[in-house]
Amino acid sequence: MQAPELQTNSAKNIETGKLPELGKLMSGAEMLLECLAREGVDCFFGYPGGVTIPFYDAMVDHHIRHILVRHEENACFAAEGYSKSTGKVGVCCATSGPGATNLVTGLVDAMMDSIPIVAITGQVHSKLIGSDAFQEADTFGITRPATKHNFMVKTLAELPRIVHEAFYLAASGRPGPVLVDIPKDVFQARGHYTPVDTIHLPGYKVFTEGHAGQIRRAAQLVWEAQKPLIYAGGGIIAANASAELTEFAEISDSPAVCTLMGLGGLSSSHPNYISMPGMHGSYAANMSLTECDLLIALGVRFDDRVTGQLQSFARHARVIHVDIDPAEIGKNRIPDIPIVGDVKRVLQKLNKLVAELKPEFGDVHREARVQWWSKVRAWKEERPYDRPRAENEIKPQHLMDEIDRLSGGQAIVCSDVGQHQMWAAQLIRFNEPRLWINSGGLGSMGFGVPSAMGAQMARPDKLVFAICGDGGFQMSIPELATIASHGLPVKIIVMNNGFLGMVRQWQTLFYNNRLSAVQLDCFPDAEKLASAYGFRGRTIDKPWQLTQALQEAIDEPGPYLLNVKVTPFENVYPMVPAGGAIQDMVFGPVEPVAVA
């Protein structure tokens, strides 16, 4: 046991000049738990190891639930699922060395998708740092580019402040992952705990309100436009601005597209909603983007999977770009009206102004607006998404249609990465925000099952699907144990086509159909696999089994693994070849194209 350490951060109160009263004597591990509790953490995901034993020891006497995962990467994915389904900060924990390096994929994933995560890693005893000690890794250095910010705690005195700073940084501004690396001796040291009441990060700049003049100009542009279009992204979900977005779409009479990260930002059943744009977006969404004369970009980053060839993206449009991150403004497209601010606050102000201007200007372009709407509707009818059915085999789209019907736009759907992700995004409705959880920016396979675990933990009331391909599912099999041991009623649906479908699709279309390392020819028996973990599973391959099997999975009180064998050679359409203009969509099988 270490000698008690004096709390050096309990400096004099600036206003009263008094020394604070000495707080309760506790260990670093206990202080960390106390801080987590003050931040409202009710559960977190982790995996113990040598240097975090003192932390795990303190957990024995604490009310915060720790969920033991089977791999640290999945702890971070689960924390993302927890965060995305609730809006709260997700917390994960790993030990030093391999534990910390295993977290990295999850951290980068959260960084790309702007998910607030606090990751706690153990570090070797501070006297051993730099000595190549057992399970030592430069976590601080390795995770610097993988996080929004990271900290290494050097003394017990700074621990509470750093933990609160980490939560503040993770959740405020553009959310993201923050890592706190804590040496073993800091967990073990004892000191007086004084709650931290203020934190000061002078260099951290958050702009939430938006420039009043720019917002006014934006409101004027809205009524000057003949063909407005809302392009809403993950920022709407992160800012909880769904209600404001809906109001804006309605008063400005604009159709809207929601990106992969923004699905559910505007209800999929809302009459103003078109669908998802981009590489696998709908014809109507991509044509609307190409033809619109005003693009109202809300919490989006003009990602290459949405814009395709940048020069021809929304080429006739003036652009209003609202984002909380100044570095996103003008990164890919120079906007006519840049607005740096929280999209919720900006929309509240914009809605007010747009409504004020409506009586005067609302009818100026009435005729043109009517024509625009009829054009959008015509595109929707002209080429809706393909929903093929076959008599003797299950089409992947058929599977997604059935899940959509049973969900009714209400279930949480956690998707893995690949073809099934695109079909799910195209065909399943999301009538609320925070129902669609997927790895958008980084595209991490193996995300589906652990994120569903986190979402189900956070929302026990909700029906949660994990939709995976047979590739991604096999990356997450260890977590079946976590699901089983906590009795999480996650419905794991494997869209099994026996291939790494998305890679195969590219090999087929762009590499002369020379298939290389994409066939997954050994898949475990789902029934046996599930029963090995003590829950139910089933494999189906006929379309007439589909509805009943899905219903059975939903009715099951516990977890369920449904392996759905689908048509092996189905590809996702429409498709915009990488780097192409988004209006140049391919709608069906084409002659393979060789890539030089």
Partner: protein, 176 residues
């Protein structure tokens, strides 16, 4: 094109790495970098000269300003600013050239810091372009060895420093 960036940042471990990492992650080569504490011991001022495509210059500054440890990053490339650099130079010269070398040093207002039978060690400060000339002139007298400090820059504009005030901790920021 070379971009000169002045950065006011917190004097904390890892802060330098965050700035340079941001550049190296994008494949930019740092031509020179100087950093030292300012009056407030908790802060440092850094001057970086880096080769960045013109259209990305604004983006680099925005990304730097996003770093939590960075209080302010300013592009001084086209802004009113003074940039000075120091060079330490050893020149090996023939006996008959010694006076000429000293004369040249005087022209560039350089100081001789060491003298030996082989030649001189000279210290010069000034505008980086001027130092290029100085080095070229000295090189013409014989073999030289050079250490340059990299530019230190100071903006001549009164740019307001906007800092975030303290915030309350553990407010449920997390539950929106």
């Amino acid at each position: 094109m070379l971009q000169t960036i002045s950065i006011l940042l917190e004097n904390k471990p890892g802060a330098l790495l965050r700035v340079t990492g941001l550049l190296s992650a994008r494949g930019y080569n740092i031509e020179s970098l100087t950093v030292a504490r300012i009056i407030d011991p908790e802060l440092s001022r850094m001057t970086i000269t880096v080769d960045v495509e013109d259209r990305l210059r604004g983006q680099v500054i925005k990304q730097m300003n996003k770093l939590v440890n960075v209080l302010q990053a300013t592009d001084l490339t086209d802004a009113p600013a003074v940039i000075r650099e120091m060079v330490l130079l050893r020149v090996r010269c023939l006996q008959e050239n010694r006076t000429a070398v000293l004369k040249e040093a005087e022209i560039f207002q350089a100081r001789v810091v060491d003298s030996s039978t082989e030649g001189f060690a000279i210290e010069a400060t000034g505008d980086p372009a001027k130092l290029d000339e100085f080095i070229a002139v000295m090189g013409s007298y014989g073999e030289i060895e050079v250490t340059r400090s990299g530019g230190v820059a100071m903006s001549l504009e009164g740019k307001k420093l906007r800092l975030q005030p303290p915030v309350q901790a553990a407010v449920p920021q997390t539950v929106f």
